[in-house]
Symmetry: C2
Subunit: 133 residues, 2 copies
DNA sequence: GATTGACCTTCCTATCGTGGTAAGCTTTAA
DNA sequence: TTAAAGCTTACCACGATAGGAAGGTCAATC
């Protein structure tokens, strides 16, 4: 039942590009795939699930290093959920910091933009704000 | 009055690293600096102001390409504020999109994390969410 | 049996903004 | 005079991704 597929099928069914699948193998996030006699990589169902896992973790903004840990936890039945949660919370904090940073940028920039007439006149509070004389 | 300084002073007084100052020159964001006989770069007051301008624009998240445009506008007394404002609003939109993306990540991840006990038990809704069986 | 086209392989390049390092020259201060 | 600090260019690295070139493999069609 463990149907094997080459990298193209693995890519289309997981939503991860073939390029990236090879890259994940190269950097050690994925174990080396088995090969056909001709050297084609082969993936089984469990490996396809791992690719989906990686894609979803990427979509949540986890770095490859974090994903490597998450995958290890996932495959380890002796994991402690404490460690997974800690990783998630640490990433959540990063996300929150980025949001705050972007919101501050937005506020400053919006304030400047609001003051700019945006016509054919050269006077521009945006440039003045950046020049900050 | 137009005191000239070498790159170290230019860096410390503008808050832009010497490395970056050279890089901006290399990619054409800054005009090539004049040089001493020995080949040391020299910066005048106007150029120091430009460095500050760049630093503040970077702090607002503008890309180097956008900053190149902003600098051009700033130095062009025939500019129309319309174009500056358009650039700023376009960047604002990007910022807003990034914020939305991060907020979506946060919501999903926070929901998963809330469901995870975070103890020595292996059961973990975070991993289950990523596995999405 | 031969050709074709889709698929696979490895290897190299680029992105973007920043940091680091090494080898060597110049300036300044002791 | 010598040592330290500062400058120069020319490399390499990051993280995650994409593109391309050159070549091997597979399956279907002529």
């Amino acid at each position: 039942m463990d149907k094997l597929v080459t990298i193209g099928k693995a890519s289309s069914s997981s939503g991860v590009s073939a390029k990236m699948i090879r890259y994940y193998e190269e950097v050690g996030v994925l174990k080396k795939a088995s090969r056909t006699d001709a050297g084609y990589r082969l993936y089984n169902q469990a490996q396809l699930q791992q690719l989906g896992f990686i894609r979803r973790a990427r979509n949540l903004g986890f770095s490859m290093t974090e994903i490597q840990s998450l995958l290890k936890f996932w495959l380890d039945t002796d994991r402690e959920s404490r460690n997974v949660k800690q990783l998630a919370l640490s990433h959540l904090q990063e996300i929150n910091e980025k949001i705050l940073e972007l919101e501050q940028m937005r506020e400053v920039l919006q304030t400047l933009a609001d003051k700019c007439d945006g016509n054919d006149n050269p006077d521009c509070p945006i440039l003045e704000g950046l020049a900050q004389t």
